[in-house]
């Protein structure tokens, strides 16, 4: 079931490639006709999805579990390989990039995961130092071998997320909210131009969720970073995003600026789907 009246702006946004597009802000992320197929059952996780995100824009992806939000985010940096279509960050094409080029692209893209994806036995400081591996190489796998300025940067990033006093604590002894802050500090070490956040607050209590969202968005604002985040909470999407994109069964069904968005029209995106 499509959301009534929602698909039209999307089609307009994607297919309108005439002279008007040169007038607005430059496109930061360009996804065109993206297809991803599940290997296990041959069905499409994403079916011909197209999306443009402008520079410095914050886009919230909403949808039910299995709607394709996480797949889309992972596909943007090819943690999931697409079956077709094209993706580019600025002038750099992701699809078809060599292994080395892909590593260069990933350096600029900070990824925040729902499950934090930290190394639990290591300290917060050690995990944050890992964030420099994209730019400074494998020496940053261990604080012992990492460069002095990387160590200073890491402490700075931990202080930025409010965990300066937790540098030597093992991350598996921290709360969920603190672990997500460590993950954000690790992402800051990348000095990213883009942030992809896959349900960054889904496993946190409401207070921690608000604090993490506040932190993520304030960092994005102060550094002029383009953000695409998958969220389940409509209220958070409306509070922190500039634009809301709804996915349903791997198809883009809604694309609205938050300013002109009525919360009631977002609810059908979460309605029961028939697979």
């Amino acid at each position: 079931m499509a959301v009534a009246g929602a698909a039209t702006p999307v089609v307009a946004a994607v297919t309108d490639t005439g002279g008007a597009e040169n007038v607005g802000p430059p496109v930061a992320i360009d996804v065109s006709n993206l297809r991803v197929r599940y290997r296990r059952n041959g069905t499409d996780a994403l079916s011909g999805l197209s999306l443009r995100v402008q520079e410095d824009e914050t886009v919230a992806l909403i949808g039910t579990n299995g709607s394709g939000k996480s797949t889309l985010l992972r596909c943007l940096v090819r943690l999931v390989e697409p079956a077709g279509g094209s993706i580019s960050f600025g002038n750099t094409t992701v699809t078809g990039a060599s292994r080395r080029s892909l590593r260069d692209i990933r350096r600029d893209v900070g990824f925040v995961f729902q499950g934090f994806h930290l190394i639990p036995r290591l300290t917060a400081f050690h995990n944050v130092v890992h964030g420099a591996m994209g730019r400074r190489g494998a020496r940053c796998a261990w604080p012992l071998t990492s460069q002095g300025e990387v160590r200073l940067d890491a402490i700075g990033c931990l202080e930025r997320v409010g965990l300066g006093g937790y540098a030597n604590r093992r991350v598996d002894t921290l709360s969920g909210g603190q672990q997500q802050r460590v993950a954000i500090a690790r992402m800051l070490m990348q000095k990213p131009r883009f942030i992809l956040a896959d349900e960054p607050v889904a496993s946190l209590d409401p207070a921690s969720a608000s604090a993490v969202m506040e932190l993520l968005c304030s960092i994005a604002a102060e550094r002029d970073v383009t953000v695409v985040m998958a969220l389940h909470q409509i209220d958070l999407a409306l509070r922190y995003a500039d634009r809301v994109v709804g996915l349903r069964n791997g198809v883009l069904e809604l694309d609205r600026p938050v300013a002109s968005c009525d919360p009631t029209e977002l609810s059908p995106i979460f309605a029961e789907t028939v697979s």
Binding site: L79, D104, F113, F116, L118, M133, R135
Partner: protein, 274 residues
């Protein structure tokens, strides 16, 4: 008020059988095992009560000759035991160090190429399936009699043991940890050094400690085939019927092997507890 009926309610669902009929495969496996036991019994691979009865008396003779243990050659025995321990320690350390890259190549989630996966799995299988005593004989031919052959035999044996369990530990790692570092743009070496190895470290340490215990035992036996250490002393004492001296060696080995096991258990507890 009427009482509650204890009669079972008639059901249309069929009651499951108490015993399921064995499958053809189960019958074949049981028949094969039974056949091997019967064949072994006819070929002498058996435990016969009459030989056990006479054997116990001979064992009594051995202990009568062995007690009290002869401490006359304690110095050379302890020196040989020290060499045995050093063989075990050096062989285990080299084996564990070599096992780490081997395991990285032999784990599906970290191997750079399927051909390297196949080769490293092959190396692990060969190292593991050939017993350490045979490796000892092979290395005695290669480098001559002495502890060097023992160290090499233990190294290969540990590579087979640790290589397999390290690789399985790497394959069991939460994929998110690898994905998190790949998403940063970390090079492959960085992902392994910064993510995979720290995550697998407790498992690596416990496996290495088991390997050390096993090496302490096998280093004794390796001496019997000329690969140095206390084994040669023990074989000589037994061949010259110096059972009292042999008992001294057995007791010394017992103390050392138990000490090794206690030490490795303490290290395991400390690592897992941390």
């Amino acid at each position: 008020m009427s009482g509650v009926s204890t009669r079972p309610v008639p059901s249309t669902t069929e009651l499951p059988p108490r015993l399921r009929r064995p499958s053809l495969r189960t019958i074949l496996v049981v028949a094969a095992v039974g056949g091997l036991l019967v064949h072994g019994w006819t070929e002498g691979a058996a435990v016969r009560p009459d030989s056990l009865a006479t054997g116990i008396f001979r064992l009594g003779d051995f202990f009568a000759d062995a007690v009290p243990p002869d401490l006359g050659r304690l110095g050379p025995i302890l020196a040989a035991l020290l060499v045995t321990l050093e063989m075990a320690l050096l062989g285990t350390i080299i084996g564990v160090i070599l096992s780490v890259p081997l395991a990285v190549l032999a784990a599906r989630n970290t191997t750079p190429h399927w051909s390297l996966y196949a080769v490293s799995r092959g190396v692990i299988t060969v190292s593991r399936t050939i017993p350490d005593l045979i490796w000892g004989l092979i290395f005695v031919i290669a480098v001559g009699l002495g502890p060097e052959a023992g160290v090499l035999a233990i190294t290969v044996d540990v590579m087979g043991f640790c290589g397999r369990f390290f690789a399985e530990s790497i394959e069991d790692i939460d994929p998110g940890r690898i994905e998190g570092l790949r998403a940063i743009g970390a090079p492959r070496v960085g992902v392994i050094a910064g993510g995979v190895i720290p995550a697998c470290l407790p498992s690596f340490v416990t496996t290495s400690m088991y390997a050390l215990e096993s090496s302490a035992r096998s280093s004794v036996v390796l001496g019997l085939v000329g690969a140095g250490g206390i084994g040669i002393e023990f074989a000589t004492s037994m061949q010259l019927l110096r059972y009292d001296e042999a008992l001294t060696i057995i007791l010394a080995i017992l103390v050392v092997v138990v000490a090794f096991e206690r030490l490795s258990a303490a290290i395991r507890r400390r690592v897992l507890g941390a």
